[in-house]
Symmetry: C2
């Protein structure tokens, strides 16, 4: 019995109740949207974590990607990054480890933090046989992974569209490129697509959420919102329907690199083609030349995407396009995305009391209180607090003091 099936049967699961309470919404509303697939609760039956909801009408959530590369980092470092991410406010963590120690890393991360964990099982499949891929998926689900990215929309059809398109950068998705390469080399169909029903069976066993990957996401502004991307999105829309029929929860992943003025249409298109499925975007990055600042570039895109209906933001760190993020990059990436998420929440009146509390403290020149209300308290060391006086900017020109009624 998955969350979705129970919701369809109008059962209030403890998870539904937890989500309703956290979001301050009616249980029946959450239940209804889980039944219809507009909200998901990524939670493997083997993973004992507090439930979080992702989807329509809820607070925008943030994911942090971590994980070993082949040439850098260690399990201990990645576990520490997971902790840093959650401490900074990440709602979920994806372990994207590659190399020889992926399972050990995954288990350590699952143990270390108390949030939903996502992975990309295809990284662990040494060849592209069905057996190898599905064995990897089973291992991940058995270890307690709550949501898995599966690039089911990289099919013969979408790869054909990709080959026709003169993209500047053909693909930037690691998982997607593994599958595309397989299709190009063998002419065979993507096993995750041709065996989608079996994938649904596995997901159902663990009540895992499928995150339908966007292997065709554009990797630069010039390639944004093109035919291969849209072709894949259409395919994913159909796969959402099939998952719902099987009572499996799904999210849909999205770009990537998009110019600012195309974000609204991207979000609306996804919501329409995928019947309101939760939308999970990477960034989006609204310029290609902000390297070193891609957390900020992603926060611009993420805030707008979320204002228009994106439900789940995958952070981007300052190290994006440079190398594997360090601990401090992870922290900065999470905070940047948390700000973007909150900015979008505010546009719906959600959590506006936080901003109001901060502003009242400012109006009263109460500096200690302002620290408490800051998204990132660590940045508030500052002159102001050390000296117990208002900030060093205005001194006797302080407009707040000037207009204070005695």
């Amino acid at each position: 019995m998955t969350q979705m099936l129970k919701a369809k049967q109008e059962t209030n699961t403890p998870e539904i109740e937890q989500v309703a309470k956290k979001e301050g919404l009616e249980t029946s509303l959450i239940r209804g949207k889980i039944a219809s697939g507009r909200i998901v609760i990524p939670k493997n039956i083997k993973h004992d974590i507090p439930a979080i909801g992702i989807g329509e009408g809820l607070r925008v959530k943030v994911n942090a990607n971590i994980g070993l590369s082949e040439s850098k980092s260690s399990i201990a470092e990645e576990v520490e990054k997971a902790r840093v991410a959650v401490e900074a406010g990440a709602d979920a963590v994806m372990d994207l480890s590659i190399g020889s120690k992926t399972q050990e890393t995954r288990k350590a991360i699952i143990k270390a933090v108390n949030v939903p964990i996502g992975t990309v099982p295809v990284y662990e499949s040494k060849d592209m046989t069905e057996d190898s891929i599905f064995k990897a998926i089973e291992r991940h689900l058995h270890d307690g992974v709550d949501f898995i990215t599966v690039h089911c929309g990289v099919t013969k059809e979408s790869v054909e569209a990709l080959e026709k398109q003169k993209r500047t950068i053909p693909m930037v998705s690691r998982g997607g490129s593994i599958i595309a390469k397989y299709i190009m080399d063998t002419g065979e169909e993507n096993p995750l697509y041709s065996n989608y029903d079996y994938l649904l069976e596995l997901a159902k066993q663990y009540d895992a959420t499928l995150s339908l990957g966007d292997g065709m996401r554009p990797g630069c502004i010039k390639d944004a919102t093109d035919t291969p991307q849209l072709k894949e999105l259409e395919i994913l829309g159909n796969l959402v329907t099939r998952a719902r029929e099987a009572n499996v929860q799904t999210m849909v992943e999205g770009p990537g690199h998009i110019p600012l003025n195309e974000i609204e249409e991207n979000v609306k298109m996804q919501k329409r083609l995928c019947q309101g499925a939760p939308f999970y975007v990477l960034g989006p990055l609204v310029t290609d030349i902000g390297v070193g600042w891609d957390h900020l570039v992603g926060a611009i895109g993420g805030a707008i995407a979320a204002m228009h209906g994106t439900d789940f933001l995958c952070y981007v760190t300052p190290a994006e396009h440079i190398g594997l993020p360090e601990k401090e990059d992870v922290r900065q990436g999470v905070i940047a995305s948390k700000i973007a998420a909150h900015v979008a929440d505010l546009t719906r009146g959600i959590d506006i009391h936080k901003d109001h509390a901060m502003s009242k403290a400012r109006a009263n020149l109460e500096w200690e209180k302002q620290v408490d209300y800051a998204i990132d308290q660590s940045k508030f060391s500052c002159y102001a607090l050390k000296n117990r006086t208002p900030c060093s900017m205005c001194d006797s020109y302080c407009p707040i003091k000037r207009l204070k009624k005695e």
Copy 2:
């Protein structure tokens, strides 16, 4: 003869030609928009600098605020900040110094950098007599200041609206609060408003641009887009018309703190009420609780504001709401705003070749070239360059290598 008068007479000044060349647009187009007031070239006749244009259809420009406070910094430090700002890409610098050394600082900054300089002369008026205020303005213009912020819209009428409004924070504008306090205490009208014709006379003598200040800008999300703000904007719209009749160039300043979903309407309202005058915003800040990260919060707001038509972005530094910015805060503030400006330019196809060049370098794994194309080259030290190999994230899983045609 001001730039505006010459443009009305269909004379192509060297400044108009410089701007047309930099922007890659027809001279007649620039000239026409200077004549109508939709583009300004802030340049005091006593200040020998390259001309920059601000307004409709041009690249979005960025201003950096620096300047002494009473308790912190030195002239040398502020001069150094001005240099850092311009090196990082600031198109203009405002010297907001307060205290006893304002003129000395101003002269040093004007000498140190080769961009338009703005100031707020009312800071230098020790009392609010007409004589003292206009003497300060004359000193600033005589020193070669290119644009001055004048809070002409803080009038008896808008102050009355402010007193009726139960704002969380009545005012956050230093200059605006000086004038509001004067009106509240004396019941007299704002001298900058009652003597506006004389102000226009002075500006005309030096061909200085008036930046009509937004003393009533909201200081928190809860106070955004309220009656006092709109009342002031209406007044400023009328003052724009009067300035154009006098052949004086004007910009209009705007908020401040605005929720993300109110930015578009704010920009459109300004453009409508002020007949297309260049719009100069501070941020805007789309949440109050991002303290320490206000450069990022301002970049989110700035990118959207500029996409909808804002022409000139005043940076916000990470030190905003904490204290006077240090040199590194200035650098970060400028880069954040430059990214926001570029992101908005991209939505109109401006400078997209920069992103395309970066993407081609990425597609070819050419790391050295990528450094050249980055907005902030200093962040690209990185593993990648040190090792002359692709980045440490994907290693053998690199999607670009995987799909490379041999």
